[in-house]
């Protein structure tokens, strides 16, 4: 692991409200490091928009992240041209999983996380390991360098039936607290809250060290 390394973290939460106003949030920190210790970028985006209601976030090796981002954008565009519709999150997760498993014995060094709303505006989130073992869940997924801390904060602070604004506060606090004890993450974060009306993006302030 002496290559360029993006040591990052991503967390996300879904929200299923009784009133049918459903949303997903996805967040990541902004740091990119090299050789573990040295900070090389403080505005490094790890969350990519595949289509208006579908996001792919990755942590791991920066070069593999970019290669995969290009691959998946290409695959999604072909699908859109052929089918004249965008991919369902579940279908996209399947594409990501098989693409990663193709390289079972020489894997891409990334941990992807997929979040989106499907055609019926139902939230879908899934995490994956580097060879594509998908684990779709109904509450939260974490990935990255400091996943244990993130598991801890999310497991404690996640609640069902949060309003989008509350969800934003919870996911941001999870992100900032979860990266507070990790010297390889930080420099603020980017949070996306996806509802059926659109996507709210916020850049949040965090420790700059």
């Amino acid at each position: 692991m002496r290559l360029l390394n993006a040591l990052t973290l991503i967390i996300l939460l879904t929200y299923k409200a009784m009133c049918g106003h459903e949303c997903v949030a996805i967040a990541s920190d902004n740091r990119l490091g090299i050789n573990q210790q040295q900070t090389t970028a403080i505005d490094f985006q790890k969350i990519f928009q595949i289509h208006p209601r579908l996001f792919l976030a990755m942590s791991g090796l920066a070069s593999d992240m970019h290669t995969l981002k290009a691959t998946f954008e290409f695959k999604h565009k072909l699908y859109e041209l052929r089918e004249n519709r965008v991919m369902e999150p579940k279908t996209f997760a399947s594409v990501v999983s098989t693409t990663l498993y193709e390289k079972r014995f020489g894997p891409y060094y990334v941990e992807p996380v997929i979040a989106g709303l499907d055609k019926a505006s139902k939230p879908y989130i899934t995490g994956m390991d580097l060879i594509g073992a998908a684990a779709p869940t109904e509450n939260f997924v974490v990935a990255g360098n400091n996943s244990e801390s993130l598991f801890g904060v999310c497991e404690s602070m996640y609640k069902e039936n949060l309003e989008p604004e509350e969800l934003f506060e919870v996911i941001s606090q999870c992100l900032l607290s979860g990266s507070g004890r990790d010297c390889l993450s930080g420099w603020g974060g980017t949070v996306y809250v996806i509802t059926k009306d659109g996507v709210e993006v916020k850049s949040v302030k965090g420790r700059m060290d």
Partner: protein, 283 residues
Amino acid sequence: MQDPDAFDLGGFEFSASSHNAKEGGFTSKLATKTGTTISGVIYADGVVLGADTRSTNGETVADKNCEKIHYIAPNIYCCGAGTAADTEAVTGTYYVYFSIFQLILILKGMVSSALFLHRKSTLRESRVVSAQSILKSHLFKYQGHVGAALVLGGFDIHGPQLFTVYPHGSSDCLPYATMGSGSLAAMSIFESDYKDGMSEDEAKLLVARSIRAGIFNDLGSGSNIDLCVLSRAGTKYLRNFEIPQERTYIRAEGYKFKTGTTVINKRNFQTATSTTTEPKKIL
């Protein structure tokens, strides 16, 4: 790296493996391995398969309620232990959804796809031995590197069948079987209480009890019990058949954050459009 002409790569891509090895090796260190309890038993009219639902990543639980009983064919299911990605890729998953005009079936996984095509060409029900032989020849070819340890069960024209398949490609045909890190705990239940010709309810309770032994005595296994009953009458997939324990405490105070707790630098709202992604930088 293997020479592509000398060896059938079976769908895998090896181009980065030598490069990765040179860089100090990322190999499959981060791959999720499921410390697992899976088991199966044959009863009078069929087979019962069982699994716990914990998936671990080292000493942390990566998923508290994952599915370890995989679809192979309508009459065949398979429990998987070992490397999560391998068990999923080797066996199968499927889901169905409605498009505007037609019903779309998404089928993933080696054996389930192979048997699906075989059924369409022969117009006959799949047999458990077909699944078993495809699995073991694949696993043998990869010398244990495809890390899937399986309990395969099904009901076909020969009646109920139960197999275990090991990662190196060997297999057993048994009346009761266990696999995974909790296999000894589960086997202790079978060895003391298995009998021939049990009823469906007896078999379900015995399998559930064997999984519970794994859940409570093996740290790699935990959470809930999934069962799958395969018989002449059809297949019953009993997801979360038993939830032995719930979280014991939830904070009375709760965690509440007032709006404005988090300091925001910049914000933007992108209104929903139906198709096509145009805006590249939304912040």
